[in-house]
């Protein structure tokens, strides 16, 4: 019989007992009550008896032990009283069993909801895809698709696997995997994520990751591991749980003795106090406090594209002081763009610069070529191209020398700079400034800079409001670093740090307080590992799942804020759950023992049992509320 049906069965048999308890007249009186209570005791209660006996044989005790002992004492006392003419308490044992079954039924329902995260992720998985083979489209089960297969996706269809678009374009809803609310445009060369939904167009993509290598499979694996992880705070509850039930049994015996032997209470009154002590104690509330909150917190994170890897991470996030950011690619876009043009004929300035840079592989060249493309300028043919190391480029255009470079190059060519003050101003802003000249005349200046991400400043502001101290670590020179940090609102800057030295800087900060490091999972792995909390920012399918305690599926700084908020809220919820579970038991047991009888505070054993049943449910409900809290 399921718990629900067992509860209904016991409830039906217990209601007449309650009717009698309230003064109603039951045909057959105590004997009818005995029959009903016996059925409840041996049908409804047998599961507790069996489980308690199994545990007893292993010299262990659990909640079933408490239920079995509590109800058996009340039941056997009533049977004895029926034979020898005392007051019977059949309704107590039956009500206890009914209430505890109700509690278990509700707990089963709520716990099921708390552990749904992984099932929901598994449900996202596509079952089949349209594979193009020899010009034909074939519906193929997903487990038969290999990396390299070409897959066609029509509007409204689920993208089966991770891959790269090779033909066609569309917009894709990636919210279910990355948490990104806006559809993402996809063109040839772009990556697509398995389990996301194609919105508008039809496109073909080449599968690059299949089976356990897909992003979704990795997320499922990671969430599963997180939910199985320990939270260090749990160990306090674990330490209590081993001794809890036997200690409660001893307390119940002492309660009985004090009432019966010292205070002169009747046998039945002393028995009722002892039973109340046994059945109010709830080790389950303590046991459920941490895992349910961990389950809901990590599940909610997964939905938002925030992968929290363990319970330890939650604790680490709760008392972080410094949050260190890698600059390039984390706080900034990671690629330089043209920010300023100085000169009378700016299109000509950009066109000549782009013509010179067309053959260059320098990162700054890309910025200038993109600017030319933006202004719809065509590059011109230049001849006798020379790259002058550390200074710039020179070439010939229509038999006149054109150059792009720095002050050193101008000095070599003995060219006067008419835009000295503008150049200084731009350099003070941390920008890289290049001068373009033709036939000894300066045409103008081009300033290039890696720009902060659009939401960098707002994310930093939010972190400051949360009481964290943001800091930036970069290999850039002090001036450039300070300029970028100033735009974002970061005051602490550590510049000119070689890539291998980032981890050392993290260690240095750790002398002053707990440190979180935010960086990309591939280049910053040592710094992420060295911090108290490593937050690895990913971008689509290239996330480095091994790096960091928290992995962000999408490259969004706001997710850093959300990740810390979610971690803190989940940990706070664990603490709250444990606090209430402990307070409930610490306060409940003395009340049940009759310590406050003097002030009129007593507890009927049946009500104590109800409180016990509902305390577990309330802990699970408290954890479930995490999924509704504002992040």
């Amino acid at each position: 019989m399921t718990i629900r049906n067992l509860f209904i069965f016991c409830l039906a048999l217990t209601l007449p007992l309650v009717y009698s308890m309230l003064g109603g007249d039951l045909p057959g009186g105590n004997y009818t009550m005995a029959v009903l209570a016996t059925l409840v005791q041996f049908v409804g209660g047998s599961r507790f008896m069996r489980a308690a006996w199994s545990a007893f044989k292993h010299r262990a005790a659990n909640m079933d032990t408490l239920v079995a002992v509590g109800t058996s004492v009340a039941y056997l006392y009533s049977v004895w009283a029926l034979g020898f003419g005392g007051e019977v308490y059949f309704e107590i044992s039956s009500l206890l069993i009914t209430f505890i079954l109700l509690g278990q039924w509700l707990e089963e329902l709520t716990k099921g909801r708390a552990s749904k995260a992984i099932e929901k992720l598994l449900d996202l998985q596509a079952k089949e895809a349209t594979v193009i083979k020899d010009g034909q489209t074939v519906k193929t089960p997903i487990d038969q698709i290999r990396a390299g297969d070409i897959i066609m996706v029509r509007p409204g269809e689920k993208i089966a696997l991770d891959g790269e678009v090779i033909e066609g374009s569309s917009s894709v809803d990636e919210s279910m995997v990355t948490g990104e609310s806006l559809p993402i445009e996809k063109r040839p060369g772009d990556t697509v994520i398995g389990a996301t939904i194609n919105k508008t167009g039809t496109f073909n993509f080449r599968a690059t990751k299949v089976g356990q290598d897909t992003l979704l499979a990795q997320i499922i694996e990671l969430v599963g591991r997180a939910q199985a992880s320990r939270a260090p705070i749990q160990k306090y509850a674990d330490r209590i749980s081993g001794y809890f039930v036997p200690t409660v049994l001893i307390l119940a015996i002492l309660t009985f003795d004090v009432w019966y032997l010292l205070l002169g209470a009747s046998l039945s009154a002393a028995m009722l106090f002892a039973v109340a002590v046994v059945v109010i104690a709830c080790p389950c509330a303590l046991g459920l406090a941490t895992p349910t909150a961990l389950m809901v917190g990590t599940g909610r994170g997964a939905k938002m594209g925030i992968l929290i890897k363990s319970g330890e991470v939650l604790e680490a996030a709760s008392d972080i002081k410094y949050i260190l950011f890698d600059k390039t690619g984390t706080l900034t876009e990671g690629k330089p763009v043209v920010t300023d043009l100085v000169g009378d004929d700016q299109p000509r300035l950009v066109q000549i610069a782009a013509s010179l840079e067309a053959a260059s592989e320098h990162p700054l060249a890309t910025a200038i070529l993109e600017q030319a493309e933006l202004l719809q300028l065509k590059t011109l043919n230049v001849e006798r191209f020379t790259a002058i190391e550390g200074k710039g480029i020179a070439a010939y255009l229509d038999d006149t020398e054109v150059i792009i470079g720095n002050r050193a190059l101008l000095k070599d060519r003995e060219i006067m700079l008419p835009f000295e003050s503008e150049m200084l101003g731009l350099e003070n802003q941390g920008k890289t400034v290049m001068v373009v000249a033709q036939a000894g005349d300066v045409l103008g200046l081009i300033a290039v800079q890696d720009t902060p991400k659009a939401n960098a400043a707002s994310a930093v502001t939010a972190l400051l409001q949360m009481g964290l101290v943001p800091a930036m670590i970069t290999g850039d020179n002090e001036q450039t670093a300070r300029a970028i940090a100033g735009q974002i609102g970061i005051k602490k800057v550590v510049a000119e740090v070689l890539p291998g030295e980032k981890a050392e800087q993290v260690t240095a900060f750790r002398q002053r307080g707990k440190v979180a490091f935010v960086g990309d999972g591939i280049n910053d792995a040592p710094a992420l590992a060295g911090a108290d909390l490593g937050i690895a920012m990913g971008s689509g399918t290239d996330i480095a799942i091994e790096a960091g305690g928290i992995v962000l599926v999408k490259n969004d700084l706001e997710d850093v804020v959300r990740a810390i908020k979610l971690s803190r809220k989940t940990f706070a919820r664990i603490k709250l759950n444990l606090f209430w579970a402990i307070i409930y038991n610490v306060a409940g047991i003395p009340i049940a023992a009759g310590l406050f009888v003097g002030v009129g505070l007593t507890l009927n054993p049946a009500i104590a049992g109800l409180a016990m049943a509902l305390s577990s449910v309330s802990v699970v409900t408290s954890s479930l509320l995490l999924s509704r809290s504002r992040i």
Binding site: R47, F48, R50, A51, W53, S54, A55, F56, K57, H58, R59, A60, A61, N62, M63, D64, Q104, E107, E108, G224, R225, Q227, A228, S229, R230, Q234, A237, D238, S241, Y243, V245, P246, L249, I250, I253, L254, F256, D257, Y260, L261, P283, C284, G287, L288, T290, P291
Partner: protein
Amino acid sequence: MNMGQLLVLLGSIILIILIIWWFFAKPAEDAVAAASDGKVQTINITVSGGYTPNRVILNKGVPAKLIFTRQDASSCFEEVVLPDFGIKATLPVNQDYEIEIQPDAAGSYHYTCGMHMFSGEIIVK
């Protein structure tokens, strides 16, 4: 204090001593080694009022199958959690449930039920 009360007191003291002895003075159980054919090692663990055997010995580096058979319908034993191996599983009643682990590092690893009330130990040598 009359004879009845004296008997109650005596009974209580004996009961308390028995509880302390039975639950708190539990001797450590003998560890049982998994059966191994060199490629995989297997051990059956019965789940009923606890985990039997409670302590299992595995050889380092050999993939291991832990076959849990849950005979106890109590919700306490619904889940088994092996945090060191990142595994949390729901055990069906009266059915075998196989958990595969790779014991790569020597040491002692504890696993528990979902509510951390019952635990077992895996010793990797």
